[in-house]
């Protein structure tokens, strides 16, 4: 039984490719953000597409894949560093079927496919999270942390806890699809 998760119809904008973006989310620099389709950006989320590499022209700052969920109050901000004396932002790439819990701050460089990130986490600058990894609630990943595929990380600083089951790819894919299908507008009165 798939219980619906209701939202008020006028609270979310649905795009042609099925992305659902809250009107109460802050999408800065939308021209620099790519959403893969069927991705949900919840209330209060902040996505900083405006923090782009210096220079002119079009550039992708943050890209999200299909069936992602950016939870309530999440902050997605591209990582930055000073290299050869020049301060710069670097792009952030997030794969398909990635769920990020409420209140989490993400400054990762790359997040693979089928990744679950819990609530109230801090994913530090230039972190690399490989496919099917899981970050538990309230975990702090310091900058440059590498999370291998199918690993669970927990704590502050986040450390390896154990390995996930071999069927995680299918499980997470089904879970994210189901979540998207359950996320429906409340019927009009």
């Amino acid at each position: 039984m798939q219980q619906p998760i209701y939202y008020s119809r006028n609270e979310y904008i649905e795009t042609d490719t099925g992305n659902k973006v809250s009107r109460k989310a802050i999408i800065a620099g939308p021209q620099n953000i790519i959403l893969g389709g069927k991705t949900i950006i919840s209330n209060g989320a902040i996505i900083r597409g405006d923090l782009r590499r210096t220079g002119s022209g079009h550039t992708v700052v943050i890209s999200l894949g299909r069936y992602c969920l950016i939870g309530e109050g999440c902050i997605m901000r591209p990582p930055y560093k000073t290299y050869r004396g020049n301060f710069n932002y670097y792009p952030m790439k997030v794969g398909d079927h990635v769920h990020i819990g409420a209140g989490t701050v993400v400054e990762a460089a790359t997040i693979g496919n089928n990744v679950e990130i819990g609530k109230n986490c801090v994913i530090g600058k230039f972190c690399i999270i490989k496919d099917c990894a899981k970050i538990e609630d309230n975990t702090i990943l310091p900058p440059n942390t590498v999370v291998p595929a199918l690993a669970i990380f927990r704590g502050s600083p986040g450390r390896f806890v154990e390995e996930l089951s071999e069927s995680t790819p299918e499980r997470v894919e089904a879970m994210t699809k189901q979540y998207y299908n359950r996320f429906v507008p409340m019927q009009d009165q």
């Binding site: 039984m1 930055y80 230039f126 440059n144 690993a151 450390r159 998207y180 299908n181």
Partner: protein, 590 residues
């Protein structure tokens, strides 16, 4: 959110064993999520991580992600020999920084900067530990493990280990020939070890020829080997253990400290294999321990269940025989409990599945709970992964066990506890008839493309279903036959929804957990798939129980398809019974 869950019992090589009482904490080791289980087609049996045999199929560093060839794992002492180090203080990964590192705006050193001036040192971006403070610096920012080799080689634990190895070498060489024979014997009977022991003993027996695999059954060997062992000369350690880490030095250190942080915590010193200084300043960076990829086999027939791809970060498997391809995927929900919006929604449609919920004082819209003395419906879903339809029957086990844990030690009358006279804390009603679940078809997959219509249908069927399914279902008692909660609620694609009901006793407490036997029958088109099943079948996780009809039809032409049955136990956890208001808080819910 709902705490409801379903877990499957793995008999772990003991096919006739009954599952342990689900409400005992110790039983958690016997019940598993379906996603954590494997299925051996040869043995027609569920396998779990506690009973499969595990073999290491490759090593990699969890930080730099480089694959480490098995040949060099031993020489490198199972740790990364590149530039990967753990902070000795907080176990975060260290980064290499030059002297006078450029600080970023927030005051943290944020990147591995290979430019800059020597000396280089290791730095923790979490706790700010830095190796220069403990006197470790590097001339160049690469091959750090190499540069640290001199520290490692001269460490007392390392010297002692080398000495031990030297001591045992002659003995190992002498006995390696004879033990390679026993080694094979042991592989065959090596059945009962957990993955960690198995991996460790596999590695050990490969690398150290004289050491046989750990096997609880083979303790008797010790007697036979005793004579051999007596010939070994006595080992004398490099130094007297009682003299290392003398207390007087510690006392001196303690007298001088100014803050408790100067003493390393037990956790920080725990992984040292040698008595070491208690001072934080003496902690050394640690090379990162390697991780491994593992293959898994059926412990009985040795068929391979999991075989990972070589590439360290690949999440694909050459073989993956997951239980999800064989057993129906089950889901559970308490529709009027977890989702207040749903309750409002159904109320609006005046379905009213029982007037008893709506005035529940303990159950505020944001905090729905179950309380004693009431009846709640629940829904089980069964999704068929196979290309043939299946028939399922459920059988709730009415075990005497709830009386053990859920009743107070003395009842109101103060009579001696008599388990059989006590009323069970709750009663479960589920349909006892057989129901069908349609076959999996690739087309169902497209369902998620066309949106949300299904959700409404489910609730519409609560009413409509009565028309066409009345023969096989009944209405809940004391309900006036208005709506149906027990029976087949809906069939959609390859999923069937079954309604059940729990009646909670007035004084009941604790978890609502019950055991249920799930029996399903399916048609097996092959005469005997034991012979046809090839060892390394495709393991891409797709439904594979139905073998290829073309190949089997020739051999099978005159035979009727065989009907097969498979039974297994599932523990259903509906959540906690909340205490009634006035009796205490309702905090126990979680």
């Amino acid at each position: 959110m709902s705490a409801a869950s379903l877990k499957i019992y793995c008999p772990c090589l003991n096919p006739n064993s009954l599952p342990p009482p689900p409400n005992l904490p110790s039983s958690s080791y016997s019940y598993h999520e379906i996603h954590d289980l494997y299925f051996c087609e040869e043995c027609d049996s569920i396998r779990c991580n506690r009973c499969v045999s595990v073999e290491v199929s490759g090593y990699y560093c969890p930080n730099c992600l480089f694959e480490v060839p098995s040949a060099s794992v031993r020489g490198e002492k199972n740790r990364c020999a590149r530039n990967c180090f753990l902070c000795p203080s907080c176990k975060n990964t260290l980064i290499v920084v030059p002297s006078d590192p450029p600080e970023s705006a927030d005051g943290r050193i944020s990147s591995i900067n290979t430019l800059g001036d020597p000396p280089f040192f290791l730095y923790c971006s979490h706790c700010r530990w830095d190796s220069a403070e403990v006197g470790i610096t590097f001339e160049k920012p690469t091959s750090l493990a190499n540069q640290l080799q001199k520290y490692e080689d001269s460490a007392p634990d390392n010297l002692e280990f080398e000495r031990l190895k030297e001591h045992f070498e002659p003995f190992i060489r002498a006995s390696s020939a004879s033990s390679s024979v026993t080694h094979h014997l042991h592989t065959a009977q090596h059945i009962h070890s957990n993955p960690i022991t198995a991996a460790a003993s596999d590695a050990l027996s490969r690398d150290v020829p004289g050491v046989s695999k750990y096997n609880p059954l083979s303790r008797s060997r010790v007697g036979r080997d005793k004579a051999n062992r007596d010939e070994m000369p006595e080992y004398r350690s490099r130094m007297d253990v009682s003299l290392t880490g003398s207390d007087s030095a510690n006392v001196e250190n303690l007298l001088r400290i100014e803050s408790p942080e100067e003493i390393a915590t037990l956790e920080q010193r725990w992984i040292n294999s040698w008595t070491s200084s208690v001072l934080t300043n003496d902690l050394k960076p640690l090379r990162i321990p390697l991780h491994s990829k593992k293959s898994k086999r059926c412990p009985t027939c040795r068929h391979i269940l999991i075989k990972p791809e070589q590439k360290p970060q690949s999440v694909r498997f050459k073989i993956k025989i997951s239980a999800t391809s064989y057993l129906p995927l089950m889901g559970i929900s308490l529709p009027f409990l977890n989702n207040p919006t749903t309750a409002a929604y159904t109320a609006k449609r005046s379905i009213r599945p029982g007037a008893m919920w709506e005035e529940d004082k303990n159950s505020t819209p944001n905090n729905p709970v179950m309380v004693g003395g009431r009846t709640y419906p629940f829904v089980l879903s069964f999704t068929n992964p196979m290309y043939d339809p299946i028939q399922i029957r459920l059988n709730v086990l009415r075990s005497p066990l709830p009386t053990i844990t859920t009743t107070a030690p003395t009842d109101e009358l103060g009579t001696a506890p008599q388990p059989e006279k006590r009323r069970p804390p709750f009663a479960i009603t589920l349909p006892t008839f057989t129901f069908s679940v349609a076959a999996f078809a690739e087309a169902w997959e497209y369902d998620d493309e066309d949106g949300d219509g299904m959700i409404e249908d489910e609730y519409a069927d609560l009413v409509d279903d009565r028309r066409h399914a009345s023969a096989s279902s009944r209405t809940a008692p004391g309900r006036g036959g208005k709506t149906k909660t027990v029976g087949v609620l809906e069939k959609k694609a390859n999923t069937t929804y079954i309604g059940g009901e729990v009646v909670i006793g007035k004084e009941a407490k604790g978890d609502i957990k019950f055991l249920m036997m799930v029996t399903f029958t399916y048609r097996n088109d092959t005469v005997d798939d034991m012979d046809i099943g090839e060892e390394d079948g495709d393991g891409d996780g797709s439904p594979v129980r139905t073998t290829n009809p073309q190949s089997s039809s020739l051999a099978n032409a005159n035979k009727q398809p065989e009907i097969r049955t498979f039974s297994y136990y599932v523990v259903v956890d509906l959540g906690k019974i909340a205490q009634k208001s006035g009796e205490g808080s309702v905090d126990e819910r979680r």
